[in-house]
Symmetry: C2
Subunit: 335 residues, 2 copies
Amino acid sequence: MTRETRRYHLAHRPEGRPSRDAFDLRTVELPDPGPGEALVRAQFLSVDPYMRDRMRAGESYSEPWAVGDPLRGGVVGEVVASNGAGVEPGQTVVGNLPWAEHSLADGGDLTPVDTGELPRSTALSVLGMPGRTAYFGVREVAQPRAGDTGVVSGAAGAVGSVAGQLATLQGAEVIGIAGSQRKVDWLTDELGFAAGIDYKTDHVGDRLDELTDGVDAYFDNVGGPITDAVFDRLAVDSTVAVCGQIALYNDEQTPMGPRKLGKLIETRASVEGFFIRDFPPRFRAATTHLGELAADRGLAYRETVTEGLANAPDAFLGLFDGENVGKQLVELDRE
Amino acid sequence: MTRETRRYHLAHRPEGRPSRDAFDLRTVELPDPGPGEALVRAQFLSVDPYMRDRMRAGESYSEPWAVGDPLRGGVVGEVVASNGAGVEPGQTVVGNLPWAEHSLADGGDLTPVDTGELPRSTALSVLGMPGRTAYFGVREVAQPRAGDTGVVSGAAGAVGSVAGQLATLQGAEVIGIAGSQRKVDWLTDELGFAAGIDYKTDHVGDRLDELTDGVDAYFDNVGGPITDAVFDRLAVDSTVAVCGQIALYNDEQTPMGPRKLGKLIETRASVEGFFIRDFPPRFRAATTHLGELAADRGLAYRETVTEGLANAPDAFLGLFDGENVGKQLVELDRE
């Protein structure tokens, strides 16, 4: 007994900013689960900036998708059928699955969701990959100390909003850079950021000069000119955690910018790229700690939820315009 | 009783590559040493790329010289007279002194030279600031491991030639990038580098691709396009020690280049600037160890010696054309 489902496939490799026709919504037949497999009905899809990189040919930090492949990402869903997959029908699981209403998965690739008091969607946001990325990036890479001036770019995004709060909990005074006054207000009024900069209306460098004598720890999600302005203001012995470069992901040519290595000599700064997939043995501990911080220390989060699989491409493309506040999710039509 | 001496002063702040008229050779009168002071006759002057930066206004990692100030740097000389300075006439000392035949200095700013079997000039080369810079940069920042592929730019310079040997002694296979076949031959035939690249005739990226699958540790003395080529080939978990950027020191505008932070995410590389003045408590230990390596482990060095104070500006300017092999010194006319 097969089951029809709708699934997105990569239609072609986009050049520059993708258009909707890069996303090919197909109706496909899924067979019954094979031995060790489960059938999962998706409830929430994660759309993430790094996926732009997977649409590109050639090596990068994530494996490229082949043209014609299903698009994939973090999915929270309900087990519909299990063929000895180690999960039971009715159970809520998270896994790396296609952008589809239903998918087959090996049981070993599915993890039962345990988000405690928080909604299951948080397995894709504050308690999921974005939260863990912030967690390891702040604690292991940027390492702000009490009293430090921290700066987070993309501060109202899924990772940045958590990173800024974690740095604040470690005693840093955190300045968040985001793309609207509404986002900045959220950072300062609800998340405890010390200050915010709306890069679309403020001059980032001038505002940083008003707010601080030097940046001790910078958590970078965006790259480009915003990052240039922060680099120019790095303090002695500062740290930079390079998490993402969303400002550059749609560029086909290597973008040019001012050379900054001399600034690193002047400040003895350390700049380190990191990648959440390097920390898997400690995912569970991170998730537990993030859950405790949310329950006991006021760690807040927000999700921007787009309804319907058909709108997943727009939800993804909206990331590059900063349309999301907090984690961008797609909620699939309830059955 | 005063003493006449010739001394270089900064005539103006040069724009771009300095010309000789930026160096004003004056004849000045020195008084007798005051209490705690010594009169020193210079034997060797050090000329170093970082001095270009001190000719510039504005903050950097070294204090700017004022127009009209004497140019200063590392000097090895003989004490001629001491007024309770804690050093004795006839003693050889090293200190940060003007580019001059004679200078007055506080005794506390002079250190007796002890270079063991090596000539006193090595207090300005392998046993001096350049050697220590290589020492801390390799051991504390780049930290190559046995079996790693290391790359050193400016590899035939005073710092790079020592850095590459130290990395080799730590078990790395080191590729040196330098500006002539003669230099490359020196690196591979006499210093134990695994390979060399003449950037003036070779395509650096293509040669690196032939020589290695990825660069684990990069010691950067030059910046610019050579460094871009190395960054493109960084391996996972690689390290970059940013020591100097001589390719850029004469630029008046911030030079532009390809943005590379995305590469750091891909590789989880760590890039760190460092500065020898952060390590002074351990200078003595470093110097002792470098001396032992020279005596027992074949650590080699070379000095390019220009004769006469009048030629000091040319010796300095020659650094930017790579005219030196190893440490560039100026030897003052013997009395």
